[in-house]
């Protein structure tokens, strides 16, 4: 069964450093998403991406965040200057139908980001 993959599984960085989290969505999917989950809290939507542009973003997704699909397979989330409160699990997801009511999103295993 095809799956979403994410690298690295765990990233430790110093406050103020830039990090890039990488995702390889399922190959025939066209819609891509990033979510995050702070330890012990609920999963929060960050951004959705389709046709090489952002479809929607949440309040969390400020100017420090950016997303990119640099080639036909990768989808990345960049945090320019990390803060302590960015420590969380970051999940990438992909789907075929976007905002269709019957859409199913497939999530990756996550990247645990620890900011020191």
């Amino acid at each position: 069964e095809p799956e979403v993959t994410q690298t690295p599984s765990h990233q430790v960085t110093q406050m103020g450093q830039e990090v890039i989290l990488r995702c390889v969505p399922i190959s025939n999917h066209l819609y891509f998403y990033w979510y995050r989950q702070i330890l012990g809290q609920k999963v929060e939507f960050l951004v959705s991406f389709y046709n090489n542009e952002i479809s929607e973003k949440s309040e969390i997704f400020d100017d420090q965040f950016s997303v990119e699909r640099p080639d036909g397979s990768n989808f990345t989330l960049k945090i320019r200057s990390t803060k302590l409160e960015d420590s969380a699990m970051y999940f990438c997801a992909s789907s075929t139908l976007g905002g269709d009511p019957t859409d199913t999103q497939y999530f990756g295993p996550g990247t645990r980001l620890t900011v020191l």
Binding site: G99, P101, D103, Q105, G108, G110
Partner: protein, 113 residues
């Protein structure tokens, strides 16, 4: 997107049937009901989706009454590996909202031997 209410936690024993009910009183006409499962330190995983009546797949059943103001996820004969958080999501009634999923706190199911 419709607000959902579900129990914060539930306990069960291996081999039992578990029913988790979700309330969504302001569900819209075009909204679908979707359940996701999340194991610790893993991403959410789609379990089942329905619009009305009953839906069954190899993992679970979803019961939706005629007024659609609630839904019940039924897990038959649970095992220890079913210990997870279960999320009820309602939405998708407007096409091309960007597709974001709004997760609540979910129901933490603990299955004991």
């Amino acid at each position: 997107l419709a607000k959902t209410t579900q129990p914060i936690s539930m306990d069960s024993y291996e081999g039992q049937e578990v029913n988790i009910t979700c309330s969504h009183n302001n569900i819209a006409t075009n909204d679908y009901i979707t359940w996701y499962q999340q194991f610790p330190s893993q991403g959410p995983r789609f379990i089942i989706q329905g619009y009305k009546t009953k839906v069954t797949n190899e993992v679970a059943s979803l019961f939706i009454p005629a007024d659609r103001k609630s839904s019940t996820l039924s897990l038959p004969r649970v095992s220890l590996s079913d210990t997870a958080v279960y999320y009820c999501l309602v939405g998708g009634g407007v096409y091309n909202q960007g597709g974001k999923l709004i997760f609540g706190q979910g129901t933490e199911l603990s299955v004991k031997p």
